[in-house]
Symmetry: C2
Subunit: 195 residues, 2 copies
């Protein structure tokens, strides 16, 4: 079996999302800050939960540093536009994916890595769409850079998944989760938000 | 009233701590990684809890980035010494300080800022002691740099406390918490750990 090194999403984002995201970009930006915050916190939480997986602590420390750096940059862009962060109202997409995770320890560990990878893969798609749709060249460059970075992160989580489970187990579970994610993307209303 | 811009601890570390910390430095290093992880996670948690305090989100994002960068560097030093992170067994010092925090929202917010500042101040003292006691010049330099950075963080948390409460309230509560911290430091057994 030849194994993919990227997580291929099974449903493309509705073009209506990009139209809304560009029209209400300020709201997307605020949501984006919350996403980066959650990504940094999740990297630290995975480090806390699985410190004995070889290489994982260093990888999650660097990931947390990178996501926190992205967060700082998003907040800087927000400040220039006179936007304030406000309370995180939660993210139905991330919450929907949480519900797909299994609870027993070994299954949960694999699911955490795969779900984190799927979120990075979806973020990669969405941020690349923003880069293509925004007119401001500085913002285009920013989102292009961030999209590439998310692409690296999804590969990282897929590699971690393969380190802790057999290839066939990873492929089967990844397929189930990707189906679940595609169903979720189809079902959730389009929002002026990253997801 | 002239206001201090640093948090002055009320009890110096017992010299026996430095002796033990140098003798069992590998254990201290592992604990130090866990401390940096908790500091980064705490910065994100404070950002999550108080996103409307002016300037706080950007400051906490930069703090999380810096603590995650320190964590990555500590893990790198550990790797060179063949050390693995292992499970976080918890920190009786941080847990003792948690118990001093009040629960109503406004009081809790002030206490979180002040306790975070006190931990940074104690970390500053301890890391400076390590810098003075370690023989390896690279480690000396590393701990000297980190001690300076912790010093900046304690000032940051003190400034945040002054932004959300009257000076007299901050002084009074800081005094109580510093007394509590001094009592805790006197009471806890000396460990091969940062605190």
């Amino acid at each position: 079996m030849s194994l993919a090194d990227v997580i291929e999403l099974r449903r493309a984002t509705d073009p209506a999302w990009l139209k809304l995201a560009i029209e209400r970009f300020d709201e997307v930006l605020i949501d984006h800050a919350h996403c980066e915050k959650k990504a940094a916190a999740n990297a630290l939480s995975i480090l806390q939960a699985y410190p004995t997986v070889p290489g994982l602590p260093a990888q999650m420390a660097r990931l947390a540093r990178e996501e926190a750096a992205h967060l700082a940059r998003v907040l800087q862009i927000m400040e220039k536009r006179g936007l304030v962060l406000g309370v995180d109202r939660g993210d139905p997409y991330a919450q929907g994916l949480q519900k797909l995770m299994r609870n027993p320890n070994a299954e949960r560990q694999l699911d955490r890595f795969l779900v984190a990878g799927i979120i990075e893969s979806r973020s990669h798609e969405r941020l690349a769409l923003l880069a293509s749709g925004l007119e401001d060249p500085a913002l285009q460059k920013f989102y292009d850079e961030l999209a590439k970075s998310e692409d690296g992160h999804q590969k990282l989580f897929l590699r971690l998944a393969r380190e802790i489970a057999d290839d066939a187990v990873v492929e089967a579970r990844l397929g189930q989760l990707l189906d679940g994610e595609a169903e979720l993307i189809a079902r959730l209303p389009i929002r002026a938000a990253v997801h």
